[in-house]
């Protein structure tokens, strides 16, 4: 089975902190994604990567950056956390054109 692992289920950070969310997949997928999920808004794409060191902005990239130094790992970085970034963050991976597999999510609270 494909496994997508997010490093934390719950995080509490202070405003202004630099926050790293880590995601690892074990199926050699080319594509990896970061979404945030908010009630009533569904899943919104922050960034995605289709190869090592390659990235593209999604629909809401402001305030975020990403890093993909190895194929299996995709990191989401909040440069300076703000309260409006309190959310559920979901990582996913896929082969090109196929379904995405999701991690369990990280619920981030910024206080």
């Amino acid at each position: 089975d494909v496994k997508v692992t997010q490093s934390s289920r719950y995080l509490v950070k202070r405003t202004g902190e630099k926050v790293f969310l880590e995601c690892v997949q074990d199926m050699d997928h080319e594509n990896m994604f970061w979404y945030r999920q908010d009630p009533g808004l569904g899943l919104r794409l922050i960034y995605f990567s289709y190869d090592v060191k390659m990235k593209e902005k999604g629909d809401i990239p402001e305030g975020y950056s990403v890093s993909r130094e190895k194929k299996e790992r995709f990191s989401l970085i909040l440069e300076s956390a703000s309260t409006n970034q309190t959310s559920m963050y979901l990582c996913a991976s896929s082969q090109q054109g196929a379904e995405a597999f999701f991690g369990q999510g990280t619920r981030l609270t910024v206080v």
């Binding site: 979404y35 569904g42 995605f48 593209e56 999604g58 597999f101 999701f102 369990q104």
Partner: protein, 113 residues
Amino acid sequence: AQSVTQLDSQVPVFEEAPVELRCNYSSSVSVYLFWYVQYPNQGLQLLLKYLSGSTLVESINGFEAEFNKSQTSFHLRKPSVHISDTAEYFCAVNRGSNYKLTFGKGTLLTVNP
């Protein structure tokens, strides 16, 4: 650009009743279509997918969806729901070779006894 519209944000039904969760998409090219389910406090799981071939696709737990190209729809149906089907359901579209998977806002299905 592609987009997905889920017409109902909440659908309450009684156990053993039929249900339909509606999904429409916009895209000028051929697409791949997906339904995902999210149970409380869990990640998203793939329920079923349409990539090509038969326009009617089925899942192992009794759900089915039909791809209708002329109406650009991919509605999800189940003839008789169980309380355990209570979850949020997301429709998603991928534009063929495009990497980007676009989701609808979700439909919360609540099955009452």
